[in-house]
Symmetry: D3
Subunit: 205 residues, 6 copies
């Protein structure tokens, strides 16, 4: 598939405590240039840049998470890279809601398999989600913190404990019948992965 | 059109008092398996399942609404079923903003007619909407409560009085000129339907 | 391209202090009939129209902004017009994040160039954004207040100082390296335009 | 006790979708003059009055609730009256959490008995509560809708179905032991009253 | 009255996009030491200080408002000073809702006269209000921006256009009868002051 | 001081995702009977009890925090007890903003010393704070999680990682001058305590 551009995987930008999440399956989530502060805001009187506490959120690489805020050139290694290609047909995600990987329908070609990513929250009460149709709802790897928060005007990025990710789970038989599901807290990475629904991104040939 | 899968009509999932609404015109709103609690959430320390007050919202069937919460196998009869098919071309919704059904453009084929569904709210201040381009903004039938709230960890579903649905209306001539519209409260189902804009879902041939 | 319909550019409708923003690059943001109050809301008991403080937000024309609320037939001249056409292929927006206009990839045809519009807020804590893939994220002209708020049940429209628009900016070299960006307040229209990222809407041939 | 002034019982004022609730046990909740729109708001540029969708909420009398919005001189009969007196000592509310009325401690004199009012919500996600120490948490009568919403700039008042009141309940023995309480929906006024905690307002002699 | 301490007039502290407003009539709003960042926050894992975008809001002096953010030692001259004294009796605010200053009841002594301050909003959807009983609801001077926002971790303070103050107004006769009040926008300082309710803080002798 | 009653230390009750926090320095925060679900809510149609996801939050004892939700009779040992006494004079909190304990003014008697507790957040975007004048802003012991969340209708209580407490800190000299404070993350309990402002609750003799 012909390459259109490469860039950095933007999840969302937050200004004035408002956010709008990009669809990770669309080209708009791949910004050519990385900056902790890639936007300004305006009212009738003026435009302001880096004057308040605006934030940006980015998908991250698999590098071990540092304890302290990261600044300057150090940041780039933690930000996930992306490419935008021209696809011959539409691509959609299929979710199994169990531990098997769903097959692509006939006439469709598999692009990648992954884990069913539903939604996220960042600071305050902002957050967003992914359309379960979009390839952006099928992340190749499962991690409890797949993205990082950057404090725009300070030029730093950091992982916070009150950042949450939400994932579709495997549905077992009693729950399928509508029974009250048992409460669970999973701390082992294996168990967490095991509990998560699998998905397949397929492209129309 | 070839069938890809059948399932249950998911409107949205709410976790930690955050929600993300699915587009009812896309495949992601049709989950293969029904569960009141089909997801978990994670932070850096752990993943939790059914441990707090998470919710799911589903389109409902036309069965009369029960007074008390419904649990277990009883729930399935109230949840709307769906199928995902592979369409030969894109489908869009057209809204008339009056009582006539809009015609499909030439070269487009009608799939169904309905009522113009705009937006909804559930518990707290969460909710969402539909793109007015999407077939999901054109529901075949008009009902004041087209969806139900399920309390995930308890395995029950219930209709609440503070669940709202929002619909495009017919615009009469004085309002079209920008006059202040008269306040109205409609209690009869006939009047409610009459006041609502009609729509048509059309598919490119 | 064959014309499907013409109308008025709707940004979003807000009811019960909840809002859902339309994608300005899709047909659903072009309503055939203008009304300050084009919707009603329902719960199990009844449907209400124009009974509370609902609002609608619309893209505006370039006419100078009046100081006082506008009512009746006066409103139409401030509301941006739109047309919906049947396009032979998909259209996407490309954003440069600098002052040059990005070129369309080979095999794609330019439709218009503009400024990179990200997000907006209206009254209270409601607002929304545009997918950066959508043509709706590339507005032909840069204005600090590209839209207006209409108070539905009163039939008036007005510009408020706490309505904000958010725009992608040019990223200069130090910020690209992750340095803390300097705070800026821009009051001159030229400077504001200069600081804003350019974009190009391209259509697959 | 010497009378300081008489007035109308204000619960709260909401502007720009923000609200601040008055303590019903303090003099500030008794406004001398009733108006649906008793305030304005300012930013650095200007002050605005009645220009947006501001609201006021007032305690109501026992008159039967009308179906349609009330306007003009008709409103006064639905708004609860109040007097502010100079008390010789502090007054506090005592709550029993069962069906008996708590006795005043020795050296304290009973002023009135009532029902334990905790909290309320109005439109959107605004609302507020009462300190359980304050006489304002002990309303003489139990009603499911003890207050009304007035749409300031329109000069009308109306009861909405998504206005909620919250009340302390009687705690029965199993719940006291921490057992999961059974779900209940009470429609009869007698049952509703029965389930509600009683209170006594006492004044230090 | 004996002086207990002097300090700086704190309006509220905002952390994690949550705020709690101090009563300006109580000692807790007078902090001995000024700092843009006087607090930290903790969860089970750790405490963090100055790591995110926390803010503090302070009453200001009458100095002309600077255009750009103020930093370092420059800030102190804009922050209102306060003293906490031991009063012989309780002090309350009386509001006239017209242009006359209310008289203190007999046996009460006037402390100061002012303008009726109701409520404020800062960034995002946070804000708070004053009890109308409290002396904090009667500010000696009327200003459209009586407080300033400090960005804690950056050590700067700045006036923003979306900071609002809310004031009780004079109620004229038609509004008192419940008529819909006319919309007004007041730009002249004289007119703004004229429209605002007067108040008197009185102390029991 | 004569005992009025003893009970359990309520921080706040949350219903329909709205909360109202009690002042921990007032009698209303000491409920005679403990229950995970001590309230119901009503609209015009009916009152509901334990039907949705309501919550209660309580101050806790020093017992080590369990990993899993606690239910039934097990809960009581984690909930802080309280007594309400009739005090001969008013009590206020004094905060030092450094590591020394502030002295009570002459004529006032010390009741207890502690740490300066400002504010808290629970689930979603709800939370609240304490007046810094109130004895409730001076907790005897410093703990990063001084309160617990109970899921009302399920009858369980649990510590969640996104529950936050906010504390006044010691202000060092550079910050006092308005310099940007250095970011800190404190994991050791000693350091956390050290960084927190001290307070003294004093009662007028």
């Amino acid at each position: 598939m012909p390459l259109l551009w490469s860039g950095y995987s933007l999840l969302y930008l937050e200004g004035q405590e408002r956010a709008y999440t990009q669809d990770l399956g669309q080209a708009g989530s791949c910004l050519k240039i990385f900056s902790t502060m890639p936007f300004s805001y305006c009212n009738s009187a003026s435009c302001k840049y880096a004057s308040r506490n605006d934030k940006s959120y980015w998908l991250t690489t698999n590098r071990p998470v540092p304890m302290m805020p990261v600044a300057g050139g150090e940041i780039h290694q933690y930000i996930s890279r992306c490419v935008v290609c021209e696809a011959p047909g539409p691509a959609v995600a299929l979710h199994s809601q169990d531990s098997s990987v769903p097959s692509c329908p006939s006439g469709w070609q598999g692009l990648w398999i992954g884990y069913s990513f539903l939604m996220h929250t960042g600071s305050g009460d902002e957050g967003g989600g992914q359309s379960l149709t979009s390839p952006g709802s099928c992340l190749k790897d499962f991690r409890t913190q797949p993205f990082v928060e950057c404090q725009g005007p300070r030029g730093t990025c950091h992982y916070f404990a009150n950042i949450y990710s939400f994932w579709l789970t495997r549905v077992s038989y009693p729950e399928e019948l509508g029974e009250a599901p048992p409460t669970q807290t999973l701390k082992a990475a294996d168990q967490q992965r095991d509990r998560t629904s699998r998905c397949h991104v397929c492209m129309k040939r």
